[in-house]
């Protein structure tokens, strides 16, 4: 145990992915501050062959589960076994396991409103995610809401089902560009799809942001390198807050519900506002 107060187990799909890496960094920092060691169980590094959990759950003081890697039934079993547990970026309807999430609706609404009000976009292409996921549905609702606020709607022909798949999105965007180019902005439900759309626009010879402005939800190194405007929460902070929530339970605080972290716009080169890109 090396003098640690206990062990915190983290279950994730792939600890090497950008989002997971950042969450785990925050988890490690906050756990070390409070004298806990962290054990990672990365159970789907080969996503075609996910394995079962290898962690000795009985030896863990508490468990953090990142995203929707465990089936709801499995989470229910863990909850019913009264293991202190925190979910990060995931919620299970009808199961009061506390979680730490990013404010999807507010964040996406903020980005859509910026595209409309500050960037002046009037005819947007919207690339939505996998509508079986609550994140995709919430972001979709937020975009529709902001458009309606401005008396606008997405034309059916400008709504692309990217399903959170960059390759599919790139193809859909190329197909759209072959048919028509009468739009002034592209908004995507995640930044990977926005990047795929950006590449398709550039391949088609369109100038971004002069002719078309592009933005997407979430952020990562690739977005920064491409100069993509995004809206994001501090993911490392999400890991830190997740540990605090878990330790609170381990120390006897009964809790339920979601701790929601705010997002902020990271304006870069793919939009015309503001003139000089800066986080806000």
């Amino acid at each position: 145990m090396n003098g640690a107060r206990g062990l915190i187990g983290v279950i994730t799909n792939n600890q090497h992915e950008v989002f997971q890496q950042a969450v785990i960094l925050g988890v490690r920092e906050a756990a070390a501050d409070r004298g806990y060691r962290v054990v990672i169980d990365s159970i789907a590094e080969d996503f075609t062959q996910p394995r079962s959990i290898a962690l000795d759950l009985q030896a863990m003081s508490g468990i953090i589960v990142i995203a929707n890697i465990l089936p709801d039934e499995h989470l229910r079993e863990l909850y019913e076994a009264r293991r202190p547990m925190t979910l990060i970026s995931h919620q299970v309807a009808g199961l009061p396991i506390p979680s730490v999430i990013t404010d999807n609706q507010r964040g996406m609404g903020l980005l859509a409103r910026m595209m409309i009000e500050q960037c002046g976009c009037r005819r947007l292409v919207y690339i939505r995610g996998d509508m079986r996921q609550i994140d995709a549905v919430e972001r979709d609702q937020a975009v529709e809401r902001e458009l309606m606020r401005a008396s606008l709607m997405i034309e059916p022909g400008l709504l692309l089902d990217g399903q959170f798949e960059p390759a599919l999105t790139g193809q859909l965007m190329a197909d759209l560009l072959a048919r028509r180019r009468d739009f002034d902005g592209v908004l995507a439900a995640d930044f990977q799809m926005a990047l795929a759309a950006l590449r398709a626009l550039q391949r088609a010879g369109l100038r971004v942001p002069e002719q078309i402005q592009v933005a997407g939800f979430g952020d990562g190194i690739e977005a920064a390198e491409a100069g993509l405007t995004t809206v994001a929460a501090d993911v490392v902070e999400q890991g830190r807050r997740g540990v605090r929530q878990l330790i609170g339970q381990m120390e006897g605080l009964r809790m339920r519900g979601v701790t929601v972290l705010n997002t902020s716009i990271i304006a870069r080169a793919t939009t015309r506002w503001p003139e000089s890109g800066a986080a806000r």
């Binding site: 009061p96 506390p98 404010d103 529709e144 809401r145 309606m148 606020r149 008396s151 709607m153 807050r241 605090r244 929530q245 330790i247 609170g248 339970q249 605080l253 009964r254 809790m255 339920r256 519900g257 979601v258 701790t259 929601v260 972290l261 705010n262």
Partner: protein, 389 residues
């Protein structure tokens, strides 16, 4: 108890808060300037500043300019907004919203827990579980907790007198929170707190806002008021108020205002209007206030009828509020605020008609934030403990 000693303690606390407020607002940032601003003797100011520094609320940093006659440059004083944190929460029939804020009102984290039909003691448990969610996230010592409740409260006694939506009757909420968390707690009505939040954080010019009225519509209808800045505020539910409305046969009938403005009623009426006019842009499924607003912007007749029918009863409430209190601002809060400026314009026009006047001095605005009451609870808690806002 020694009455004389208590009076001295209270006086010292009062003076300490005077100084803290002067530093917080930027009115004065040196010991000499504080003495001038507060009228307190310099040695008293020095002692109290030392107490504030020892308590971690104020820090010294840098040096100011010498006075015109020269001499030693004064040490500058700064308010430390992250030295304490406050939890504000609001509970209504659907959920508990909680916020963790620094002393300058910056929101550090938010927490939401659904009630899923919980009432009585079960609803109290959900409140505690949501507060615990914020307790776990504290970055600094907790100053106090503020809670807003939908219903009628006795703030001074710290008792929820009656909340029909939560099934609470004479619940000693403040005492139960104080015992559980060993911290000061305050209690107020949700809409009263929404009005306070609007006053403190809403962006209205403080110097020209003496009285502000907030009308909030969700499961019920509530009115909150701040008078003379943040000095006095009050709020209560008026969902049972009977309002006259013209029925289909042209006859006037009286209905409870919360029935008229409840979402289910509006959605039902929208469906009926859509049946009369199938070309209406109001969607058959998934209708929201924002859809109605969009339809109105496209000159949809059914949406226009809905706007007028919603504005009517609200104008009656606003007319009474304007006549009685002559507010500087009238703020519409709750989900209904999604109907936007066109609704405000209709309410204003109908209010003018009801009051037989061409001009209203009150300005109308919208508050869309879902956590407005929780923010107000935090503001009230900070104000009660430190008197700085």
């Amino acid at each position: 108890m020694n009455a004389r000693k208590v009076t001295r303690t209270q006086l010292r606390r009062h003076n300490r808060l005077l100084i803290l407020r002067a530093i917080y607002t930027g009115e004065a940032n040196t010991r000499a300037a504080l003495a001038q601003a507060t009228g307190l003797a310099k040695p008293t100011v020095s002692e109290l500043v030392t107490e504030l520094i020892d308590g971690g609320l104020v820090e010294e940093g840098g040096q100011g300019e010498s006075s015109e006659v020269g001499g030693k440059r004064p040490t500058l004083l700064r308010f430390i907004s992250k030295s304490r944190q406050v939890i504000g929460a609001s509970i209504d029939a659907n959920a508990v919203h909680a916020v963790l804020v620094n002393l300058d009102g910056t929101v550090v984290a938010e927490h939401t827990a659904l009630l899923n039909g919980a009432r009585g003691e079960d609803a109290f448990d959900v409140l505690i579980e949501a507060l615990n969610g914020m307790m776990a996230q504290l970055d600094a010592p907790l100053l106090c907790i503020g809670v807003g409740v939908q219903g009628f409260v006795d703030a001074e006694a710290g008792i929820v007198v009656r909340s029909s939506t939560l099934g609470w009757r004479r619940l000693p909420l403040v005492e139960r929170l104080r015992v559980r968390y060993q911290k000061a707690a305050i209690l107020a009505n949700n809409t009263e707190l929404a009005a306070l939040a609007q006053f403190v954080f809403g962006g209205q010019p403080r110097e020209s806002t003496d009285t502000l009225v907030t009308v909030r519509v969700d499961e019920t209808v509530e009115v909150g008021v701040t008078l003379h800045g943040s000095d006095y505020h009050h709020g209560g539910e008026i969902g049972g108020l009977l309002v006259s409305t013209a029925g289909a046969d042209g006859q006037f009938e009286r209905q409870r205002i919360e029935e008229m403005l409840r979402w289910e009623t509006i959605a039902r009426r929208a469906a009926a209007l859509k049946a009369e006019d199938p070309r209406s842009l109001l969607p058959d499924t998934g209708l929201t206030y924002m859809h109605i607003r969009y339809a109105l912007a496209q000159d949809d007749r059914a949406a226009g009828v809905l706007y007028d029918e919603i504005a009517g009863p609200l104008a009656e409430v606003v007319a009474w509020s304007v006549a009685l209190m002559d507010p500087d601002f009238v703020v519409l809060a709750g989900d209904l605020a999604d109907l936007g400026e066109p609704l405000l314009e209709r309410i204003e026009a109908q209010t003018r008609h009801l009051l037989s006047t061409d001009k209203l001095y009150a300005r109308f605005s919208l508050a869309e934030a879902a956590n407005l009451s929780a923010l107000g609870a935090a503001a009230e808690a900070i104000q009660t403990e430190l008197s700085i806002l």
